[in-house]
Subunit: 365 residues, 2 copies
Amino acid sequence: MLFGSAMDATVAAEPEFTPPTAKKPMLLCFNENPLGLSDGAKKAIEESTSRASRYPFAQVGAIKKELAQYMGTQPDNLLLTHGSAEAIRASVEAYNVPGKTVFVYPELTYSDGADVAKRNHIPVKTVKMGPNWSIDLAALRKLAAQQAKSKHVIVYIVNPNNPTSTIVNTQALFDWIKTKPKNTFFILDEAYAEFVNDPSFKSAGELIKEGYNNLVVLKTFSKIFAMAGMRLGFAYAAPAVIDNIENHVAYEVMMNQATLAAATAELKDKEFLAKSKAMNDESRKILLATLDELHIPYLPSETNFVFMDLKVPLKPFADRMKEEHILVGRPFPPATQWCRVSLGTPDEMKYFVQKLKEFRQKGFI
Amino acid sequence: MLFGSAMDATVAAEPEFTPPTAKKPMLLCFNENPLGLSDGAKKAIEESTSRASRYPFAQVGAIKKELAQYMGTQPDNLLLTHGSAEAIRASVEAYNVPGKTVFVYPELTYSDGADVAKRNHIPVKTVKMGPNWSIDLAALRKLAAQQAKSKHVIVYIVNPNNPTSTIVNTQALFDWIKTKPKNTFFILDEAYAEFVNDPSFKSAGELIKEGYNNLVVLKTFSKIFAMAGMRLGFAYAAPAVIDNIENHVAYEVMMNQATLAAATAELKDKEFLAKSKAMNDESRKILLATLDELHIPYLPSETNFVFMDLKVPLKPFADRMKEEHILVGRPFPPATQWCRVSLGTPDEMKYFVQKLKEFRQKGFI
């Protein structure tokens, strides 16, 4: 199974911290939002049940207007999808010229894009990571240019990147896209962008606003919006790009009433989003203070998870954490001694760092 | 817009009948279930909000077991999809051999399969309808056999058919599939099968149980389960067929927590399903009695809608019904004088037939 035994566990978000148990483990494994849905979203879902037997045409129109406002764009720049999983699949398929396409991506990143490419018989070509598991943009650009001489190239970049938690250099990325390299289409997966603190970061959405049509930005309600279990993502691109990608979904107008209700409520709830961001910052601070104290190296986190260097293999560490009813991220080769820890609530992180300290005392790390 | 102005209207299911208004029109246009979600499903959705921020891995596993039991099969015969829209898209794409495939279907049927084919640049070939807008299985079989000599053929049959409400001859259909015609794959869309009363009808699922792997049966929770706005469908086929179709969805494990909760509740609620079926039978009876009285011809309905011959063009009739705040089905050429009326509640049908009688008095029909 892709996600291992953690797939059997689903834990409700709880306001009061209780130590994890076998039945209710602490889920620091899936980069979910530990706050849970906003109260407004919960209420909106409950109200939506009276519409659940009806197709959601009117609601889809309404949320697209709301979302366009949130993104500072127009509805025809947006395509709603069932999670960003569907957006990734449809984007890759939309820009696949069968038999002529190559998928270019960094070797240590979210696997979904490459998985879709492989299922579509698109050859995938990876670029080795740069120093400190950074995405080597220069090498990616070089490889893409080389391939684009005879092939169509899809470049897939997750920014900030999963599992490394880091951002790429905005200027270098934008410079590359702005040259409009021939036969090259960029998929920028910005699932974690709302968590970024680094002021140099810019969403590639800025290039779409400037009129570029050689890229799509993919977003999700699973992270800052705390809706991983509600499955809503979207693509943001030039209208012609959106039309192309829309050809590869079923019916965009067929979305889930409960999801649309929740997402609409959260889009309007600036307070919840701010709280979600602030909590993430606080939890990160708690974790990083202990990692510093224990001299455990980590990458600069611009996301709701931290990638840390155990300096010992991941598996025994993860197994021992599991014995403590804490589930951490899966293996991400080739970073075999690194562990991805999703940020829980501040209380959860206090509990987790206590375990880290105990592990150090026991000589496990 | 595909569905016209009715897309702007969404009406909550109400236990008490109130005459339709401009704001709350009577929706007899989308073959939705007027009962609305079961109370158990509503409660289950409300409970699911505490899990909405978590990925639904455990819940997907659980419902697949429940659904397998309901269908009398095994979980690996089933693939969950975002409505049957995704199942149709993925099934067509899974059996498309690019450049070599032809899509064969009856000219008067649900358009989604053919739309997917066209978007995938698959040539579509239709067969004219038989007497009384029946699906001409013999002609379909002949065309498919002819095409299969040099092409791969996807045959798409909706059974019972939409918009005609009728079933095909089970024996003739099964005989055809059982001959395992070369280069031919069958997509049997059985969205309305639970409403059938004709004892000769059998689900093509029986052939899957017998081991045939040249077909897939597509099902939905949108109709008898009253979950059109929750987007859950599934494919039922041999495990190898399911694996093939699964390659064309994103992540099957990524379904909606609220949807899974509602569907699980309804799968267990035999009483609700029986009530839904009984209400549909009652509503159909009310409508057909008036159609008989007014000598308005109709096809034998095995679904939650009735296809009736106005003997005058549909548009002015539909426009006048809209003035009465009743929305009927869209045009289905070439049956330009026929109207598809979705069955509402018995109270709604009593109101609707009264309007039909008034229309007759006014000479509109």
